[in-house]
């Protein structure tokens, strides 16, 4: 082959290979993007020490109340009942609250599931800070077992003044035997 042709062909091939890699790079990039912008309703976590005690403190805003509504959903085909223990709550920004959901396994076997979460409006996701959540790890329910599942969270006091109503939704999916990527 003409060396000049070979050179151009190799360069073009390298672009193609690099772009294949770029496709995969979009996965972590998207993760970072969601983390930074709250895109996709991503929430934040409160910094803790190794014993799980809160190390990051927020000033409580006594003059504001933010309404938070809760939804819960078990995705087909997971045979669970899953619903919020409270319909809504009014939160003082900065103060830590504990809420719960109730999950029941209607299946005939033990089932492990993983919950995802979502905040609307999406832009508010980053202002919901969790200290503890059943969504941090996979949950296993024995056949017929019912359990309360807790989430401890606070609303960041720096939340923009025009956001006064939020909804926090959890969906349980039957877990695959994989680590999160």
């Amino acid at each position: 082959m003409n060396p000049q042709h070979r050179k151009t062909a190799i360069k073009s091939t390298m672009i193609a290979v690099a772009m294949f890699g770029f496709g995969y790079l979009l996965v972590p990039l998207y993760d970072v993007f969601c983390e930074v912008t709250g895109f996709g309703g991503r929430t934040d976590i409160v910094a803790t020490d190794e014993k799980g005690n809160q190390t990051e403190n927020f000033e409580i805003d006594e003059n504001r109340l933010v309404r938070l509504q809760f939804t819960g959903h078990a995705a087909t085909p997971l045979p669970w009942d899953f619903k919020a223990g409270q319909f809504q709550a009014e939160l003082k920004p900065g103060q830590l609250y504990e809420f719960y959901y109730i999950a029941k396994n209607n299946g005939l076997t033990d089932i492990t599931a993983q919950s995802t979460f979502n905040v609307t409006p999406a832009i508010a996701g980053g202002y919901i800070k969790k200290l503890e959540c059943f969504c941090f790890s996979q949950q296993t329910l024995k056949a017929g077992e019912e359990r309360r599942m807790e989430v401890k969270l606070l609303v960041d006091p720096s939340i923009p003044v025009n956001i006064n109503e939020l909804s926090l939704g959890y969906s349980f999916f039957q877990a695959k035997n994989v680590a999160q990527n």
Binding site: M1, I15, M19, G40, A113, N177, V178
Partner: protein
Amino acid sequence: MAHTPTGLKRWLMSTNHKDIGTLYLIFSLSMLFLGGAFALVIRAELFEPGLQYVDPHFFNQMTTVHALVMVFGAVMPGFVGFANWMIPLQVGAPDMALPRLNNFSFWILPFAFTLLISSFFVPGGAPAAGWTLYAPLTIQGGMSVDMAIVAIHIMGVSSIMGAINVIVTVLNMRAPGMTLMKMPLFVWTWLITAFLLIAVMPVFAGAVTMLLTDRHFGTAFFDPAGGGDPVLYQHIFWFFGHPEVYIMILPAFGIISAIIPTFARKPLFGYSSMVFATAAIAFLSFIVWAHHMFTVGMPLQGELFFMYSTMLIAVPTGVKIFNWLSTMWRGSMTFETPMLYSIAVVFLFTIGGLSGIMLAITPVDFQYHDTYFVVAHFHYVLFSGAVMAMMGGAYYWLPKWTGHMYNETLGKWHFWLTTIFFNITFFPQHFLGLAGMPRRYADYPIQFTEFNQWSSVGAFGLGISQLLFVYIIVQTVRGGEKATDEVWENPEGLEWTVPSPAPFHTFEEQPTVK
């Protein structure tokens, strides 16, 4: 160099750009009929409300495979066929730079499509999730999804190799004196298309590979159960998908930029602005993808960014439209079939472009999204843009390819039947979409009946008219009035300096361009 292979070997083992071009064009035309047949199943079912001929699942297979076949089987290989035939002739090269690669990139295509089409016969039938193959639906589908994924990999490899061939040929094999800014616009648009191809086909290959590993190898890129996000698939897909739609239209711009000056008997108006406009469209295509996802959920800033960047594309596209109009302005125009097609492309593509601007407006897109308005929009840019430009190009260069003039009367009949039936098929779909008829459903409420009947009648007319196209091509190949070397009146370009039909080997000695 008088060696000319014959028989089956000539085609199977061909390294000749003209033969491979012919293979690509025949393949593309066959796929046009196959994809068209699927479309007619859709239109037959939608002739009346209720379910008549097929069940909804099969209907969804039809919409999915129709799109995959048309995009990857008809339009893209069609343009590669034109590139193979015309780029060496237009830059004064004896062949494509990498002839064996050329052979390989064509001959893997029939395997890819055999695989895709045979998925109709596996349990559950062909993929039915739409050509976008959105996760999580495609994570759940049957084995046909795997067959489609592998077929897409093969098609992707084929088009990447084709693109590399174009890049190497154009960059290294131009005749002395042909600087980049002297290249015919068809070569320019294809060079830019080739760069788009090597940039985004691998991304799509990556996306479907992730689907495949999510389905079988325990990863969870798009599966929420493992921490993945289905919306991520849509982002990756459209990062490929939007440049892909320009891959399917830029070479069409190149073809009509060759045709219009010939029949207006004036040089192309604003050559360098055409080149820059093409490059600008290609660049912008990378930063507009999320306009396909306005309703999926995005921060306001995101929606605004993608709205404005999308609208910005109208500027370079407008430059092109006005350049074509200015080329025709006060020209001594004649209206042979290729010119009729080119004028129709300018006119009808603009309709598709304008409905595209309507769709780019985020707040109204919430109304139009996934309705027949979108279907009408992309058929105006893809059929009356890409496909009709290829038909015009086929009439324009057919005398050079075959050595015979086509039958002008029949050509004009083919043009008018195609254009009229196309508009009967797709114009009413704008109204259906605005009235709220969603796409990809086998049934509809009765108030949509009349427009759907117009559309179905038009579709059958459009399909049947294409038999005339085949007849004209076969007739021209077999005989007819001898074409001169120039074919048309003082056309511009090196391809008109070689005899008609173009001999098996051309430009063994490089021509010089002044």
